[in-house]
């Protein structure tokens, strides 16, 4: 019983890790305060679920989820490329709200609030990841590959260009860097990984509805990025583990579920406020939040 619960938590950590490191790429490394990350997660989840329900194999669903989210990342970057800080945050937040509204109202495709039940568990090369342990292994492998890819990107000279764009975009341009392209690529890569995280989530839970992809769902992911520390992948990993596990004891206190949900959000907000006051760079942050 306990081990099943532990496996469940580890799967959630894996999915949140992919979501958080991809947000870290945009926010921490490139300085794009993207509040629309959950929308990419939702796009990935719905794309993968709809394809799977129409008989497509898992790997097609999985990569299509990433590619479609990446395409939406590209579309979002076009009107928002010149925006910075709060303005970018508001514009991307609006994108998130639009995607949520579409999921809720395009009932012919998404079944609206009824959601999509019966999403099949992944099958790959004849092997079915139907039990949680095998799904954990799949999530761990995908999580590790995602981490390594983002690590390679951020450690390369390309990663330094991302950081340069974050620190001083005008200067980067005056040095000849096409920051429009740089920011677009960062958002697209970030969206790709959010999309595949969404795919994993959909195939794990096997049921998705728009309520899983509200703006509120961004709070824990953004909290992980800030608490772990901007531009720190190590901090992101540690914060993902801590923030996924920390609210779990609330389940055992005996509060009704109507209280546990908001209590989790309050806990995240409280930790975030404490971190911003006492450790503005987060655990391992390399830059201060502006």
């Amino acid at each position: 019983m306990f081990s099943a619960y532990l496996i469940h938590l580890l799967i959630l950590i894996g999915i949140y890790l992919i979501l958080a490191i991809s947000l870290q790429l945009a926010v921490g490394f490139t300085g794009l305060l993207n509040m629309g990350h959950i929308a990419f997660y939702a796009i990935g989840a719905y794309a993968s679920a709809l394809l799977a329900l129409n008989g497509f194999p898992f790997w097609v669903c999985f990569f299509s989820a990433g590619i479609l989210a990446m395409f939406f990342g590209f579309l979002l970057s076009l009107p928002t490329n010149k925006l910075k800080g709060d303005y970018l945050a508001l514009a991307t937040m609006a994108f998130s709200l639009v995607v949520y509204a579409v999921l809720l109202n395009w009932t012919e495709l998404t079944r609206g609030p009824l959601g999509l039940p019966g999403i099949p568990k992944p099958k790959f090369l004849g092997f079915s990841f139907s039990d949680n342990l095998s799904f954990l292994i799949l999530t761990a492998i995908i999580g590790l590959i995602s981490f390594l890819i983002i690590k390679i990107i951020t450690s390369s000279q390309f990663g330094k260009v991302l950081e340069a764009t974050r620190d001083n975009e005008l200067l980067a341009r005056v040095l000849g860097k096409n920051t429009f392209k740089i920011k677009t690529m960062s958002l697209m890569i970030s969206a790709f990984f959010a999309g595949i995280a969404g795919s994993l989530y959909a195939h794990y839970i096997t049921f998705i509805d728009p309520s899983s992809f509200t703006l509120l769902q961004l709070v824990p992911v953004l909290a992980i990025v800030i608490i772990g520390g901007l531009a720190s992948l190590k901090g992101t990993v540690i914060a993902t583990v801590i923030l996924t596990l920390l609210p779990e004891p609330l389940r055992f206190i005996g509060f009704p579920s109507s209280i546990v949900g908001p209590a989790r959000q309050m806990l995240y907000a409280l930790i975030l406020i404490l971190i911003l006051i006492y450790k503005p760079k987060g655990f391992y942050g390399k830059i201060e939040l502006e």
Binding site: I152, I153, S156, Q157, F158, G159, K160, V161, E163, A164, R166, D167, N168, L170, L171, A172, R173, V174, L175, G176, K177, N178, T179, K181, I182, M185, A231, K286, I287
Partner: protein, 245 residues
């Protein structure tokens, strides 16, 4: 090399640059001087594409660059030092300088597959430039931890490393101590002997007169005089612009 023709830039009712025309020659140091608010930095911003002119042309080696973006202008060969210190604060001195070499670092796949290796040539150049400004031990220090004078020097060598045909330096010695000031003057003279073309804004008259081949004086957005340093020194219009009636 660079020709400014009837350039105009208005900010609301303020005529920051008002029908400004001048030309700079290759392999010469040209200084742009004038009282505060004369429009010098605005001209620099117009040349480097940060702002666009309302009217007029900026011809760089015969090509009109007045509508181009800063990155395109940079890639045509104009390297610029800003009046305010501008570094990538969270990157090290070495990382700051590496970004100035070329645009290979913007190629995603090349970098992802590790094909954009740091060449010995680049590393040697960084070392040599840091030795030149006596900052060889600061290579791995973050830019935000440097003093003002050190930042200025790093910016200056970054501007020089950035591939260019024309160097534009906006107040390179403002706020730096006399020792560094002398070193920068020597560096500019050395660059000129190497065939560099430099456009300079500087308020320090001794410095400007000492290094420049030609001086262009601006006031109220237009050119009021130009000539050799000794001609400018005694020009009554220039004295009036600086000292008033």
């Amino acid at each position: 090399m660079l020709k400014i023709k009837n350039l105009k830039k208005y900010f609301g009712g303020v005529k920051a640059v008002n029908d400004c025309s001048f030309e700079i020659e290759e392999r010469k140091i040209t200084a742009l001087i004038g009282p505060n608010g004369a429009g010098k930095s605005t001209v620099f911003n117009l040349i480097s594409g940060i702002i666009k002119p309302d009217e007029g042309e900026i011809l760089f080696n015969g090509k009109n660059i007045s509508k181009l973006n800063p990155e395109k202008i940079s890639n045509l060969g104009i390297s610029r030092l800003f009046q305010q210190t501008m570094l990538f604060n969270n990157l090290t001195v070495k990382e700051n300088l590496l970004l100035a070499f070329d645009n290979e670092d913007t190629k995603f796949w090349k970098n992802f597959f590790g094909k954009n290796k740091l060449s010995n040539e680049k590393l040697k150049k960084i070392k040599a430039m840091l030795e030149l400004i006596k900052m060889e031990n600061f290579e791995n220090k973050k830019a935000k931890d440097l003093s003002y004078g050190q930042k200025r020097l790093v910016e200056l060598i970054r501007t020089i490393i950035n591939p260019h045909i024309l160097l534009m330096l906006d107040e390179p010695v403002a706020g730096v101590n006399p020792q560094i000031r002398m070193e920068i003057a020597e560096m500019l003279k050395k660059l000129k002997t190497q065939g560099e073309t430099i456009l300079l804004i500087e308020h320090d008259m001794n410095f400007t007169l000492g290094v420049s081949d030609k001086i262009i004086v601006m006031d109220e957005g237009k050119v009021i005089a130009e000539g050799k340093p000794e001609e400018i020194k005694n020009n009554p219009q220039v004295l009036e612009a600086y000292l008033g009636d």
